[in-house]
Amino acid sequence: MKLTLSGIDRRFGDVQVLFDVDLVLNPGEVHALIGENGAGKSTTMKIMSGYLAPTAGQVLLDDAPVTFAGSQDAEARGVVLIHQEFNLAEQLTVEQNVFLGHELKRGPFLDKRAMRARTRELLDRLNCQVSLDARVRDISNPDKQMVEIAKALGREARVLVMDEPTAVLTEREAEVLFEQVDRLRAEGVALLFTSHKLDEVKRISDRVTVMRDGRVVAQAATAEMSEDDMATAMVGRDVSSLYPARTRPVGEEVVLSVRGLSVPGHAADVSFDLRRGEILGIAGLIGSGRTETMEGLVGLRTATGRIEMHGREVRFDRPRAALAAGVAYLTEDRKARGLLLAKGMRENLTLQSLSDFTAFLIDERAEDRALDRAIADFDIRAPHRKVEVGNLSGGNQQKLLLAKTMLADPEIVVIDEPTRGIDIGTKQQIYAFIHALVADGKSVIVISSEMQEVIGLADRILVMRQGRVAGELTGDEIGEDRIVRLAMGLDGMRGAAA
């Protein structure tokens, strides 16, 4: 089935977010939709799949205009959107999820046998081995993705729209997904997906549409566009210098010294020093204990070990103590741990340093001034000041989270996954902020799963493996190959781990 968007406009109140969007999804073709956060990708996908109606323009299925009454109507016509956050009932089994809301019945009773057979058949088609009786909460992310796709196929999906399907997958897991995407393409399904990973786009898609500020700015066969072309089209400016150059050398003074830090069950005997004005990168595989080590450092988890700041021993039994000493931790999970999504920007901005705004009562004017400064300093783009933070794009949420953390004026900032799931333009801005911090004499620890990011940012890199420091790399030693070997346990222990 062919799906066409023709001249789509969309407004939210006074704000127009889509301008004259044209897009064609052909059967047997994989279409990549890329753009910065806030470029209008999500809105476009929602209009395709019946979650939103266009303000102007037309949606056509096989060249016949349609008006979806809602997402269920769209699904009934074969157009299915798979959300980035899985839409599965965690407590139910795989089989129950696949037929959720569309259960097969025999008389008044559920026809379990037919549903099992059909689910198995769907999962076999996707080459997915997961047990039908496994509870969804117990299965891996890629398997969840497969269950979502099986669910879509179970509803005879002929157009499959996937919102950042690989965001939560490791590279190997993504590989499995791509095999299935190939299979679906061969079966004549029309596919569209979004991703911030341009190498993926290059590999898997047949056509690319680039959006910026609610408009389609480029549309071409993937073969005709290089990754650089894509990035430039997304941002509208040259992004070759993603990582700023150092403006000031790393200081001599050791501001933080950690010895034998252990977090039961996650990390053991982690030791390192951090200098003034230094960016220390922490690399390692997911699950290597990086986040837990840092959460232990700032008192979010129970930890043992010796921590010194400026040569004096300190104890952080709770986050407040760490913050008071000038150590702040910025979480990797901005939605679940970083921001109150149902609250406004002001409440979020000052939550961590509310005591600075409170004499007897909260000084709301001072809060407003702080928000003005944060919006200017961190280039936070919001439709209006009262907007619920959950309605901001991921990049703007991350900037707000950064502003919130910096409002407490920490001397040492631990930033966990500074740019997860955000676009390249915002990434560049965040890297510039981090460099501005160290230029200002602060020290930063960056945890990142993106190899390029750690290498591009850090002065020195600690590689963790299975809760321990597997090695430390500085200067010319820093390279993708060395990091991977240490993270995988191919190279021996050295440096700080000794």
Binding site: R320, L340, A342, L351, L361, I362, A408
Partner: protein, 320 residues
């Protein structure tokens, strides 16, 4: 911006009730009736202010009615017990008041401790303590009624019946508690923290908010207010029994919800709770003053109002 039904709803409902009441009975707006309604609202009202904080921070307290009965019984026992040594008079009242406040603080602390440190669901904890206090007061009264010594009743009576400038003490205390509560909720760091904890306790924890402390304080604060409400209540009847304070917890929770506070936490407003309390008392009062509808239908009408209030809250969500 169009007027927000979520804000205006409770106010309009209250105004409508007052108009209906005034139309149906000429005594409705008389000073005596207004004082009567407000004084009776004060017990639930004082408790509901505390309940607003607990619910805003994502908690719940089902034990407040039994707690009030238990504290009332305790206060009476303490005063009766010390009567032979201290004699009737204000010093003894002071001891009784002190006992009620301390008991309220301890009971609130206990609920808070079980919810925070022991990590048990608030619903379960307070369902348990609700049964415990109800049973304790029945036991203390040996299944009957605990009565305050007759001489002491005369001494303590003014706490409920007297006041300044014709406004009775319970009304004054309720007003003070409500105003302070509103200020703390709206402009105090504690109110902001309570809303943050109720909204998402992980975010609060990662923002260096001491989540357990905030939760604990909401329960202790509520316990204290239950103590204060009891101090206002004991002088009215001078007795306590197993039927004292029955269903107060539900009335308090209902008032909080009618006022627009979200039951799942994250957002609360004290002025709304005050209006919720007044709405519930006025319905009761109007049914008693008029002949058209039986007062026995009070519960049914209150139930309808609670459900309507929640539907209105949801409508706003969908529209926004």
């Amino acid at each position: 911006m169009k007027p927000d039904l979520h804000v205006l709803g409770p106010i309009l409902a209250l105004v409508a009730l007052i108009l209906v009441g005034a139309a149906m009975n000429s005594n409705f707006l008389s000073a005596a009736n207004v004082t009567n309604v407000l004084s009776r609202s004060a017990f639930i009202g004082i408790i509901a202010v505390g309940m607003t904080f607990v619910i805003t921070a994502g908690g719940l307290d089902l034990s407040v009615g039994s707690m009030a009965a238990f504290i009332a019984g305790l206060m009476i026992l303490v005063m009766n017990g010390l009567l032979p040594t201290m004699g009737p008079g204000w010093p003894l009242v002071g001891v009784g008041v002190g006992a009620a406040i301390v008991a309220g603080l301890i009971a609130g602390f206990l609920n808070g401790f079980l919810v925070t440190t022991m990590r048990i669901e608030a619903f379960i904890v307070t369902l348990g303590t609700m049964g415990i206090y109800r049973s304790l007061v029945t036991w203390l009264a040996d299944g009957g009624t605990l009565s305050l010594d007759f001489g002491m009743r005369t001494v303590i009576r003014p706490i409920y019946y007297d006041g300044i400038l014709g406004i009775s003490w319970p009304i004054i205390v309720f007003a003070l508690v409500a105003v302070l509560g509103e200020i703390v909720m709206r402009r105090g760091a504690f109110g902001r923290h309570a809303a943050a904890v109720g909204s998402n306790d992980q975010v609060a924890r990662y923002s260096s908010v001491d989540v357990n402390r905030v939760r604990m304080l909401t329960y202790v604060f509520l316990g204290l207010l239950v103590g204060i409400a009891t101090i206002m209540y004991v002088p009215r009847l001078g007795s306590a029994s197993s039927s004292t304070g029955v269903l107060w917890e539900l009335e308090a929770i209902a008032a909080v919800i009618i006022g627009g506070t979200m039951l799942k936490g994250g957002f609360g407003r004290i002025w709304g709770t005050v209006i919720g309390v007044l709405i519930l008392s006025l319905i009761d009062n109007i049914l008693n003053l008029t002949d058209g509808v039986s007062p026995y239908l009070n519960g049914a009408i209150q139930g309808v109002i609670i459900i309507l209030a929640v539907i209105l809250q949801r409508e706003r969500k969908a529209g926004g």
